[in-house]
């Protein structure tokens, strides 16, 4: 033994330590990877030794390698070993390693619970400290649940060092285990007034972080924070508190009023820039929240802007950046005060720092006016030319378009200029925003009627020079512009000077290299042009050859498109080709066809608002929620599929920019409709009116017809297509303004002025001009976008509060956010759970009472709770009263004059239903089981009364039991029915009939009807006394546990008493196999049975759940088991026994996990998954039934469904992803499946096959 130790320590001398490793890596620069792999081999050897010092050294080296990007998760167990060392230096290494490489799916984490608990309660504060530090990085929901109590105790530790850490880590615990927030909150609040400033600031930090997500619930703490703010001198804490107030003020404007004064004082007094900056920020937030004017309102703004100007002028780039950032916040509400600093901001545009330029760009958005738009954009265009790096250039491009198009082109006075800017932008290399430019072109051309002639001419040039745009393959993004160009030329072809030339340009062979959707537009619009050419020629009978030539041109060129691989192009081309051929025939017979051909494309296209489709009101008497057919049950998933499909359709439509063609409506009718609509909008308080100026333009609008259309001398702008020309407009514009001014002064005769004007200039309104107003170069009728008649005036189109997708919109990568939500969303609509938010809101208040009044109120709160249960409305009122109480207490504080009452007055109770749904769904991945989801939430009602006193075990227990109850009740009916069917009544004592005969095959899904209702319960075993049904892997009630434990399967068994006697002392036992083990309580031997925790009176059934741990989930498994029980009749009791076989299918290892379609496609792209496929013949059930079946029996969720094709997703308890693509075509269903574990995949597919062979 001694020898061994000596040998061990000698060995150690030759082991590499971390320094050696680092040195080694630096000496092997060329073959680093090889060197490291030999090192890893050595480390593996070292880890096999018993000596803990050697192990610690090895783990230490592994942490370094982990930092370099090597996966060290294989050593997880050794890390746990080192963590449990009693020597602090080793323990520390272990915890460090754990904090770096453990995460929620690390399976050894569950081994650490006891070790961590031991360390937390260690007498050595550094042991405790290191455990807390480590834990914060890898805390899982299980750990959080198990250790929450220990950590809470540590919050009152004698050492501030520990208290501080414990307070901080509570935040992580809350995230993982939201239930702990309520019991822990009082103590957390206590820590706000801890004597140690470190602890205090930790508590401030935690509460700020919590409040940032759900400010509403922390509004009641405002007085306390206010006190801290006015008394604290610690800038770190002050910053946090001030930031927190910034988040609170939008909810309670009265709080803002109170804050302004101390904040202004701070601004004046502090020398710390960071504090000053945060104060300014919060003052801005306050000013934004105060919509109505305050006496010294403008003074505060002036102060802020002044201070920010100082920041921006500072030579320190950081301050400059922050100044601009804060300025942009002011801009939203007080653009005027920012505009006076235009010079400064324009200066920042020239800064060499990209971050600063971007911020300045943001500000520009609000600075433009009719006067300076051209000038600013000109400046930006210069930057575009200079900018290196596509990201910044793209940013500039979007900003230019944003600035110009904001509030319905409010600031554009000359649309010719805008079009030429757009054309210039097309020359940008490698931009991604081709579609953006294209949509602007379309928008302007459609809505600004007066500009069409000019736009068409420009577009024709673009088309003619299409090779410039498509020549370089890198410029792919920009060719989108051609889409717009072709469409505009075709649609407004009457404005074309030389339609023939454009037609020719559109049919060049090179066009075939463009993307399909653009080609399709080309073809279609070539037909429109053709119609125009025909009409142009027909007037001149002598020239009929031209028309025929045109037809010939089309006939020659179109076959190229007919061969296109793109279906759309092909279809349109062949259709038009046939049409042209027919026309040619007619032409040869000298028939006049132009009229008919033009009629094909007759009619005006009105701009349609993107949301118009959604706004079409539902006709009276049509209830979309009512089923047309008998509703199939359990169809949630398929329902979703349909909805998502619907969404996709709309989205597609919008993105294609195809404006639905309206049936012809004559102008009068249109005008009439507009009037009606306007009147309606005016009367409707909910309708947000268009910006005043555009409205004005619209009202004054003389109509297009009245606008004098001046001939444009095209030679100037169009001669040089490759050269910038917007500058000319700027110059012209300046000249024009000058002239206008001069004109006004001189008040000369109009005629004289017209003489002075040069060709291309066009003068609009000849009426008298107001002094300040800059006249637009030409009066423009900006057509408002069409909305359907009687459009519903809701403006929340983007958020459909009832859309389940919205609620499912949980970032799966970021479970934090999801778990954060339950903390405090205030829900008012779902009756089962409505108590919850109030609870959260309340706990601080209760606590307040506890702190400030007397320790009596505990009783009172219990009573209050009872009250609350009674009715919802009462509750609301009650809350208010309570808050009143609170304020009464609050006003005793010296700092708080009367205003506090206002401060904490009940927050506006306008909680959208959506948040409610959010929460509901975020808790339950299987949306088909509302009861189960609701139940856990309802438990706190029973438990929370106690929670304040004994916050630990109560909620858990309640939680475990309730879901079962709800569940069993849902199944009860079914069972009763079944019992009638299978009435094999055996009233006598049939001793020892065992089970052999009755044990029916497992896995059989006992369910004969076509679809509804489905059940996962399979008959397990049955005899004259008792029937057992099992449902495997019932995860519904156990969302939290299972995902993390990775290897647990929960089996729910329903026991049903079929005889007339009382059954008791049931014991459930299973013979463990190597792979699967029944989890028994601590201290029980491996062969002991589990006692079923209930007795069964005659005819009653109940459900128990058993947890099995499983090693390998690839293969299905069978376990043998026995149930022993005592049948008690009036006079005697007998021991009985029932054998059964538990069948774990591979399906039972799958967990229904919702998945986004983008995450899904990423998963498929990753290429880690192996594929396999399956064909099912003769399945004659509807597709959605089929999907529902797969979802239900095999725990999949539908990711997306399009017609008869659906993608589905599921995850195994050990984290294997499984993806299915299900397609159906006349009775044949083909399933393509992919999974990272081929064995598991094969088995699941077999099981799916089995499911369908049985129906």
């Amino acid at each position: 033994m001694a020898l061994k130790i000596v040998k061990g320590s000698i060995d150690r001398m030759f082991d590499k330590n971390l320094q050696d490793l680092v040195r080694g890596i630096r000496n092997h620069k060329e073959d680093e990877a090889k060197y490291i792999s030999t090192c890893i081999d050595e480390i593996k050897q070292e880890l096999k030794q018993d000596n803990i010092a050697v192990k610690a050294n090895a783990v230490c080296k592994l942490t370094y390698l982990q930092m370099l990007g090597y996966d060290v998760s294989w050593a997880a167990f050794n890390i746990v070993e080192v963590m449990s060392s009693s020597k602090f230096t080793y323990k520390r290494i272990g915890y460090l390693a754990a904090s770096q490489c453990f995460h929620e799916s690390t399976d050894v984490i569950m081994l650490t619970t006891n070790q961590i608990r031991k360390d937390l309660s260690s007498p050595n504060q550094y042991d405790t400290g290191v455990a807390l530090t480590g834990l914060s990085c890898f805390v899982t929901p299980d750990l959080a649940r198990d250790l929450a109590n220990d950590i809470m105790t540590l919050m009152s530790h004698t050492k501030p060092y520990i208290r501080k850490k414990a307070v901080l880590i509570m935040y992580k615990v809350f995230l993982k285990y939201p239930e702990s927030l309520r019991p822990a909150f009082p103590r957390l609040k206590e820590k706000l007034e801890d004597p140690d400033p470190g602890v205090q600031s930790a508590a401030v930090n935690v509460i700020c972080e919590l409040a940032r997500r759900n400010p509403k619930n922390y509004l009641s703490l405002a007085p306390l924070f206010f006190k801290l703010m006015t008394s604290s001198t610690n800038n770190w804490v002050l910053i946090k508190i001030i930031k927190l107030f910034g988040a609170l003020t939008p909810l309670e404007p009265r709080l803002g009023k109170k804050l302004i004064e101390p904040l202004t004082n701070l601004i004046h007094s502090t020398s710390a820039m960071s504090l000053l900056y945060e104060c300014v920020n919060t003052v801005i937030a306050v000013l934004i929240s105060l919509s109505s004017g305050m006496p010294n309102h403008s003074a505060s703004i002036q102060l802020c802007v002044q201070k920010l100007r100082i920041l921006i002028e500072d030579s320190d780039q950081n301050l400059k950046y922050l100044g601009l950032l804060a300025m942009s916040k002011i801009l939203k509400t007080h653009p005027k005060s920012v505009q006076s600093h235009k010079d400064l901001i324009l200066q920042c545009l020239d800064d060499k720092d990209e971050s600063i330029r971007l911020r300045a760009l943001d500000l520009l958005y609000g600075m433009v006016s009719k006067k300076n738009l051209m000038e600013i954009v000109k400046k930006l265009m210069l930057h575009v030319d200079k900018a290196e790096g596509t990201t910044y250039r793209d940013e500039l491009l979007t900003k230019i378009i944003d600035i110009c198009s904001q509030s319905n082109y409010q600031y554009i006075t000359n649309f010719e200029w805008y079009i030429s800017i757009l054309v210039e932008l097309t020359r940008l290399e490698g931009t991604r925003h081709g579609h953006l430019i294209a949509s602007q072109m379309l928008d302007v051309a459609i809505r600004v009627k007066a500009i069409r002639a000019f736009a068409v001419a420009q577009m024709a040039t673009l088309l003619d020079n299409a090779h410039l745009l498509t020549g370089n393959t890198q410029r792919n993004g920009i060719c989108e512009v051609l889409y717009a160009a072709a469409w505009i030329c075709g649609e407004f072809s009457e404005h074309l000077e030389e339609p023939m030339a454009t037609l020719e340009a559109m049919l060049r062979p090179k066009v075939a290299t463009l993307p399909g959707h653009i080609q399709a537009v080309y073809v279609q619009n070539a037909a429109k042009l053709f119609a125009t050419v025909l009409r142009g020629q027909e007037g001149v009978p002598a020239d009929s050859t031209v028309a025929q030539e045109t037809s010939q041109l089309l006939i020659d060129r179109l076959p190229l498109f007919v061969q296109s691989s793109n279906l759309e192009v092909q279809e349109r081309a062949s259709c038009i080709l046939q049409l042209v051929k027919y026309i040619q025939k007619l032409q040869q017979k000298d028939v006049e066809v132009a009229e008919e051909v033009t009629a094909l494309f007759a009619g005006e296209l009105n701009p349609v608002a993107p949301k118009a489709q959604k706004k079409v009101p539902v006709p009276e008497g049509l209830d979309l929620d009512v089923w047309i057919n008998e509703p199939p049950s359990g169809s949630e998933s398929e329902d979703e599929g349909r909805k998502s499909k619907g969404k996709a359709v709309f989205a597609k439509e919008e993105s294609r920019h195809t404006k639905p063609r309206y049936t012809e409506v004559d102008e009068k009718e249109l005008a009439k409709r507009r009037e009606v609509r306007k009147a309606e909008q005016a009367n409707n308080p909910f309708y947000i009116k268009a910006s005043p100026s555009s409205q004005k333009v619209y009202q004054d609008g003389v109509g297009v017809e009245h606008i004098p259309v001046v001939q444009i001398d095209l030679s100037v702008p169009l001669k040089v297509p490759g050269m910038p020309m917007s500058d000319q407009y700027v110059k012209l514009e300046e000249e024009r303004r000058e002239r206008n001014k001069a004109d006004k002064k001189k008040k000369k005769d109009k005629k004289k002025r017209e003489k002075g004007e040069k060709g291309r200039r066009r003068r609009g309104d000849s009426g008298p001009e107001s002094e300040e107003d800059i006249t637009p170069a030409h009066m423009v009728d900006i057509v408002t976008e069409e909305m359907p008649e009687n459009a519903l005036p809701s403006d929340d189109d983007d958020k459909d509060p009832n859309d389940p997708h919205k609620a499912l919109n949980i970032d799966l990568d970021n479970l934090l956010a999801a778990s954060r939500r339950p903390l405090a969303d205030s829900e008012k609509k779902l009756p089962v759970r409505s108590h919850r938010p109030d609870e959260v809101l309340k706990s601080p208040m209760e606590d307040r009472q506890v702190v400030e009044v007397v320790p009596e109120p505990k009783k009172k709160t219990g009573k209050e709770k009872k009250d609350r249960k009674k009715s919802k409305e009462k509750k609301k009122k009650h809350k208010q009263e309570e808050e009143g109480d609170l304020m009464g207490a609050g006003s005793e504080e010296p700092v708080q004059p009367e205003e506090t009452k206002e401060v904490a007055a009940p927050p506006p109770a306008s909680t959208p239903e959506a948040s409610d749904l959010d929460f509901w769904l975020s808790n339950a991945p299987v949306p088909s089981n509302p009861q189960a989801a609701a139940a856990p939430a309802s438990t706190p009602r029973t438990a929370s009364g106690m929670a304040a006193v004994a916050p630990d075990s109560e909620p858990e227990e309640a939680k475990d039991t309730e879901p079962e109850e709800t569940k069993s009740s849902t199944h009860k009916k079914k069972k009763q029915k079944k019992e009638k069917e299978k009435k094999k009544k055996k009233h006598h004592h049939n001793h020892s009939d065992g089970a052999g005969d009755e044990s029916v095959q497992n896995g059989t899904v006992e369910e004969e009807e076509p679809l509804p209702p489905m059940s996962n319960y399979a008959l397990l075993a049955e005899n004259s006394y008792i029937k057992m049904m099992k449902q495997d892997a019932d995860k519904v009630c156990d969302i939290q546990g299972n995902l993390q434990d990775g290897s647990q399967v929960v089996v729910s068994v329903i026991f049903e008493n079929k005889c007339d006697s009382f059954i008791k002392s049931m014991e459930f036992n299973v013979l463990d196999s190597l792979n699967s083990k029944l989890q028994r309580p601590d201290g029980a031997g491996p062969h002991d049975g589990l006692i079923v925790p209930f007795q069964l009176p005659p005819g009653i059934s109940n459900e128990a759940r058993f947890i099995f741990s499983v090693q390998n989930i690839v293969m299905p498994q069978k376990l043998k088991g026995t149930l022993t029980f005592i049948v008690k009749t009036d006079d005697s009791s007998t021991h009985e026994k029932l054998d059964f076989k538990l069948h774990f299918t591979c399906t039972s290892y799958l967990i229904t996990t919702p998945c986004y379609s983008d995450a899904y496609s990423k998963l498929l792209e990753s290429g880690d998954l192996k594929g396999c496929s399956l064909k099912l013949e003769g399945v004659n059930q509807p597709f959605h039934h089929l999907l529902a079946r797969i979802c239900f029996h095999h725990h999949f969720s539908v990711v997306e469904r399009i017609d008869s094709c659906a993608s589905m997703y599921s995850r195994s308890i050990q984290g294997h992803h499984m993806c299915l693509l299900v397609k159906t075509a006349d009775q044949t269903v083909s399933i393509d499946a992919k999974c990272d574990e081929p064995g598991l995949l094969g088995n699941v597919l077999d099981e799916i096959k089995l499911t369908f062979s049985q129906c």
Binding site: L18, Q19, V22, R23, R26, M67, L68, G69, Y70, D71, R92, I93, L96, Q100, H103, E104, G129, T133, S136, C137, F138, P160, Y161, K165, L168, Y171, K172, P197, G198, V199, S201, A202, N205, V206, C208, E209, N234, N235, W236, I239, K240, K243, S271, A272, M273, S274, L275, L276, Y277, E278, Q317, N318, K320, Y321, K352, D353, E354, S355, I356, L358
Partner: protein
Amino acid sequence: MIKAILIFNNHGKPRLIRFYEYFAEDVQQQIIRETFHLVSKRDDNVCNFLEGGSLIGGSDYKLIYRHYATLYFVFCVDSSESELGILDLIQVFVETLDKCFENVCELDLIFHMDKGGFSAAPARAVSAVKNINLPEMPRNINIGDINIKVPSLSPF
């Protein structure tokens, strides 16, 4: 909340990496590379804030960094942190390292990963910063003033 602390040298070699949110090793390396790419392009006299570290978080996150000699100190934080506060925190962190190593340089970080890098300095500065915030450690510091007094640190 601080999401990650990255220290790497002028060539992008990681010297000390701490993530307070789990990322797989390859993702971590990618984040480091991307961050290095973003940061290294910037001159020394431009501002120390960068937006859109696309890998961590989203628009809510900022990269705040400082460049000292051969090392970049990058903090990835969300909007609940004061930008200037974090800059000061980096300063404090570096000064703490300086105290530990007496004239800290890159080699110290390289070779004393275990002593200095791993446990001592970051465990102090970082445990202070840990999870969230800037609690006790910089308590005596008047943020914004550059002459920072480093508080006496309790021995670990």
